[in-house]
Symmetry: C2
Amino acid sequence: MCQLLGMNCNTPTDIVFSFTGFALRGGLTDEHVDGWGIAFFEGAGVRHLVDYQAAVHSPLAELIKTHPIKSKNVIAHIRKATQGKIALENCHPFVRECWGINWVFAHIGNLNDFIPELNGNYLPIGNTDSERAFCYILQELRLRFGVVAPTQSELTRALQQLCGEIARFGTFNIMLSNGSALFVHCSTELHYLVRQFPFNTAQLSDQDVSIDFADVTTPQDRVAVIATQPLTTNETWHAMHAGEFMVFVDGAALNHTS
Amino acid sequence: MCQLLGMNCNTPTDIVFSFTGFALRGGLTDEHVDGWGIAFFEGAGVRHLVDYQAAVHSPLAELIKTHPIKSKNVIAHIRKATQGKIALENCHPFVRECWGINWVFAHIGNLNDFIPELNGNYLPIGNTDSERAFCYILQELRLRFGVVAPTQSELTRALQQLCGEIARFGTFNIMLSNGSALFVHCSTELHYLVRQFPFNTAQLSDQDVSIDFADVTTPQDRVAVIATQPLTTNETWHAMHAGEFMVFVDGAALNHTS
């Protein structure tokens, strides 16, 4: 299966530690060899790196580890193809503009017979169920709210409803970000934790690497990390349950409804 | 001033040779230090790399030279900021989807008081005149042709007309690609050449580097390269004239009207 990784912070933070363990699952400690991708928000801009080589063999993945990029919102994805051929246009995350804002989306799971009517405002470039779902979500947001972005709470309600609707077609573990919030829907498997003061040492599950976050943070920093499976062995990861929808802002879970 | 580089080919080709000279203009042999970017079509997908470090100091630029990416359509841009702060969202090329197709756009020059009415289908994320022009072009294409992509000749006529309209607001040297064609409008300065059989040795202007294309091509290969200023010293570059609009497909100039 595929793997998702998301990070939402109150201060720009590099994702090297989490990405190091995560990238190993792309072909070394797990079987996800059909491409990978990562998108970093930097201000209003998005740095979007995708590849259809396994992450463990990708020079781009190596670059991310050697040249840390600091971001408040990151979404990464490692792909084991279920629908759609192995091609760049089918690599997650996907990026589109809505309301003059970048939106980043990644999905794991499979949707069956999800063929929504698309009015042309957002059309898939590739042929995955995932990109189709992303286009449908943005189309529906535009239909509901017109040309002006809604408030965060209006947006949250709309996204939660849309995720629930799409999840009826199959498995819909997703992460979606507009650069300020990270929206997460769980169908089957997602875990999260919030790192904040006092910071401790964390030990990666996939490699003998640890980091003492107290050395690289200030007491004000707060970082939420969300991943398919826990990435560290000595921290408490919370399992999301089926149908749960969460919103992370400034490194904290805003609401917790299902 | 900024620098533009485009490549359109009949077979996927790496741009390392041209990019090597071009990247040197980003802070070493010229003064373009406010960021750079490049977009490669790979099938329907786009690999989009942007940075606000000078290209000569950028690890991403180094990666492009050490890990050649083969593409039939490439657009690259080195930026000296005129409008818009130095930020990722203001780095060219810009990428948007229209008709389920990726579109890539880069511009050099300055538009004065170009504030078109935007209906919300494509809204700028940053604050450059360039991205505003790109959004306007895609909006107008959608308004004219609806949800189905027009033929190449319809598209060419529409783009030529739109470029002429926008160019009345200032300097509009642009490159635009949908992955099959490379559309080019010249206001002040652009040069192009077509490399085809029999291939010869080319010598970069900006560095003591040469390549014998006969060693790395087949007789069927054809590559059009378009750049602000000629990149090589021993090939014949054709200067485009003010108001000229060209379309390159499969490495050849399709039409030649102004």
